[in-house]
Symmetry: C2
Subunit: 253 residues, 2 copies
DNA sequence: AGTCAATAGTTGTCCTACAACTTGATCGAA
DNA sequence: TTCGATCAAGTTGTAGGACAACTATTGACT
């Protein structure tokens, strides 16, 4: 039962000046250790006491991290026995219930993500956009039409509207290029949740270009992204080509 | 700052002999207090210290409960400030990321749930079912074909296969009648998670009866329900009629 | 072999104390 | 007044120690 700080573990506070609470940092590190299969699925991970020793934090902090991972479905904590790795690692990472960028998800699925922009412009909000973004009609939004690719094949067409509000002009340009969430992060804007509505759509009016599917069958993900305090920042309608993208949801109590 | 146990609160241990840990009981009670709008959306709830006094438990227990609710997206806890009610109560309850029976969801949406059984029989597992349920091909399963109604209108057709395993014969009959999960509960079987796959389907071969939609457009929810230890117990393919049932997902980090 | 009791290990809860952060009030200077 | 800094009170985050409740294994006994 020797307690020694494993030198292989990246230290906590020093990694990046501390981005979030201690428990959050520990949670993220344990998360990657689980997802990289450091412990086999179904296997017991070290006790809270041991982990506290490894990370040099209190048992409270470890417990908070473990509970969070249990809530995400990655762990199964049993009173008096221990914490066990659930056997759904990959599915959870790809699950819709986790808010992550489509690009990242595609990359983790082993494909090469890509994106082509058809429309990127600043214009007044439509009635529908104004309603969803809780702004006045006609107020400026950044409107985009993009095709999302995986290994050069179109997997989805996305129609997005970002509320401008106080966004400086120069930063708006960046969104039209790389990752939208990357641009958000630079501005200190962090959407922490999204409300998504799912529909089955059969239409020939969706999409463009030669990669456009003939079936016309799509899964529409109608999303609204929110900040911590509940302010909506982006409304996006993404049409996923049926069959080319796996939609998984991990449901828990 | 007077700490008095509110007499309106149901006591914890006495309610039902204690179904789960203290923190879980507190979580459930706080959850209903939130969903019944005891505190307005966006408003601050009492401090951990106050709640500990109300429920006569330690601050640790309250913290555990609050953290769980935060993970579910019902609360927003801010360091140094307090815990605030998120403005997504209804959406979260109806959200797919929460594992609840369709019947309950329909009822909470204000409709009268119903169900008609077309097929209820015990037969050997098909190759696909055997694979999903992790049993041998031909082993007995309870197979059902049901139509799910809301206010006497068909919202979905479901094709389900339940792994029999040690289930006593008489209990199998009950599943064919009322709620499947109700029958599970009586047997002490509690599915705690499900992995769902979503597809858009356009087909005229789905469904039956005169309520069958003409469009032939469905959202297929292909589910597999698991026990705590990862044993699959039920595989169900549910075809939701596009437009008649709102599919929402609450996505969080 | 089978049953039961003891035991060590693990998670759940409690207590106390303090650190870190947020918010509003207070006060002083421009 | 108006702005800004400072302060104080309130709240969440982390620490450490202690014990209760539960699990799984071992070992003794029948």
């Amino acid at each position: 039962m020797a307690i020694a700080k494993s030198p292989a573990l990246p230290s906590l506070a020093t990694t990046k000046g501390g981005r979030g609470s201690l428990a959050t940092q520990v949670r993220d590190q344990l998360r990657t250790r689980i997802l990289t299969h450091e412990w086999n699925e179904g296997k017991k991970i070290p006790s809270e006491f041991d982990l506290a020793g490894q990370y040099q934090v209190s048992r409270v902090t470890i417990r908070t991290a473990l509970k969070a991972l249990e809530a995400q479905g990655l762990l199964d904590i049993r009173h008096g026995s221990g914490a066990y790795v659930a056997n759904f690692g990959a599915a959870i990472r790809a699950g819709l219930q986790e808010l992550r960028s489509i690009t990242d998800t595609i990359r983790e699925m082993g494909f090469e993500p890509g994106m082509t922009h058809r429309v990127v412009k600043r214009r007044g909000a439509t009635a529908d956009e104004a309603l969803r973004l809780q702004i006045a009609e006609g107020e400026p939004v950044l409107y985009m039409e993009r095709a999302i690719l995986a290994d050069d094949e179109v997997v989805a067409y996305s129609y997005d509207a970002v509320a401008i509000r106080d966004t400086p002009e120069k930063s708006i340009g960046e969104m039209g290029k790389g990752s939208v969430f990357g641009a958000f992060a630079k501005l200190g804007i962090f959407p922490v949740r999204a409300l998504a509505e799912i529909h089955a759509i059969s239409s020939m009016d969706i999409g463009w270009g030669k990669g456009r599917p003939k079936s016309g069958l799509y899964l529409l993900l109608k999303q609204l992204h929110f900040l911590r305090d509940g302010v909506p920042v982006m409304a996006s309608d993404t049409y996923f080509v049926e069959g080319r993208f796996q939609f998984i949801i991990h449901r828990t109590l």
